[in-house]
Symmetry: C2
Subunit: 235 residues, 2 copies
């Protein structure tokens, strides 16, 4: 890798050079690196360009920037990973398999006490409960339990959700502003072992998600994947 080949007039080029200096310990972790102005002079470019490169490094957590205090190499670069949580249909189809889902249950229910803390809905108000099984090539792929706040997604009341999945419908009709996401492992109980075609007690990968639009909760989902599921990403 010849450094001379890198174009230090582009912000990406400058980022590469800075990255290499950090990797090669030219600038030690915790050490302060030269100011934007100095770097700009060194690379013969505008401060804006250096700024862009440094901003990008700061975003990925490799350097810490503070006004007046300058920029320093992060001591413990946090290992950030960006997970892409696709719509299950798309995930299955990306694997080259055919997607299908079947709605096992659909009813109005009071909000289960378990969710009272996380999911602030007027008490007494019913929420829509759905149980869905997702298939890939006719083999169970994931089991879904979902509560939908009808106040946040009124149209859901009229939807059967047998054709289009609740997930897809909500993505398009009740966009969320933020949410909580968590992952954990769970033992297959009798129901799940039957639905997911897994031996009872098998460790299953699960994901739980709550989404809000502003302060209004939209939906709570728990997805439990069939045995062998792995969630992957690159860092």
């Amino acid at each position: 890798m010849d450094l001379a080949l890198i174009d230090t007039n582009s912000w990406t080029g400058i980022r590469e050079v800075l990255l290499r200096r950090i990797h090669d310990r030219v600038w030690q972790p915790g050490e302060q690196i030269p100011h934007e102005a100095d770097l700009a002079e060194e690379f013969g470019c505008a401060r804006t360009t250096v700024n862009r490169a440094l901003r990008d490094l700061a975003e990925s957590g490799l350097v810490i920037r503070k006004r007046r205090a300058g920029t320093r190499v992060a001591l413990n670069p946090p290992q950030r990973a960006t997970l892409t949580i696709p719509i299950i249909r798309e995930e299955v189809e990306a694997l080259g398999r055919t997607y299908r889902h079947s709605l096992l249950e659909r009813e109005l229910r009071p909000l289960p006490p378990m969710l009272h803390g996380a999911f602030q809905v007027t008490l007494g108000e019913d929420v829509l409960f759905l149980k869905t099984l997702h298939f890939a090539d006719d083999r169970p792929y994931a089991f879904e339990e979902r509560y939908i706040n009808l106040a946040a997604a009124p149209g859901a009341h009229e939807m059967a959700f047998d054709e289009v999945s609740a997930n897809e419908w909500l993505v398009h009709n009740a966009p969320y502003s933020h949410g909580d996401l968590s992952f954990f492992a769970i033992n297959a109980d009798k129901t799940m072992s039957r639905k997911l075609d897994a031996a009872s007690g098998t460790a299953l990968f699960a994901m739980e998600r709550i989404t809000w639009s502003g302060k209004v909760p939209i939906t709570h989902v728990r997805l439990i994947f069939a045995p062998g599921y792995r969630m992957r990403t690159e860092i």
Copy 2:
């Protein structure tokens, strides 16, 4: 929320306004939105500023941008989540608990066949194998199995890893450029149930990670967490 309060002279302000238009379906999913120049005129700011706001929205996957083709609202906004995978010590200490770890095993070994594909090392070359148990307040927190490529981290040979953990040492001494990360669920076998103080067969959350520096593999880790562990993030 009064829109008039938002400062449309700052790129974050403009981002908020655009975000709201997308949420409120002023611009439908898939629909093309006005050009940077038009928006700049509307907000009475420079095109650069609008560009910055749109770039940010594009990064989060909410809009898709193409030269000449313009910007359009994403049809299926990919649900991205940024996970921060901390050093275990920091994770434990952030919980207000005391961290401790004990090295259970440390030896040179040939690379196990299981890893031959992922972890390209000269055959016959030994790698350093470590087994560590991490504690929080003297209760087992996670069980770690790690292979270190000595060619990539020569200093590791001299390290006992009983004081400073391999994780922390590597972070500081053999920075990686990229890696693969995956999460899954696994049943506790006899060893793990003993080490992690879990009933045999309990579903455990596990993470596997391989990191490289360029083309040279550095380390392969498998972390298995004690029962009840949840990995959380916000979206």
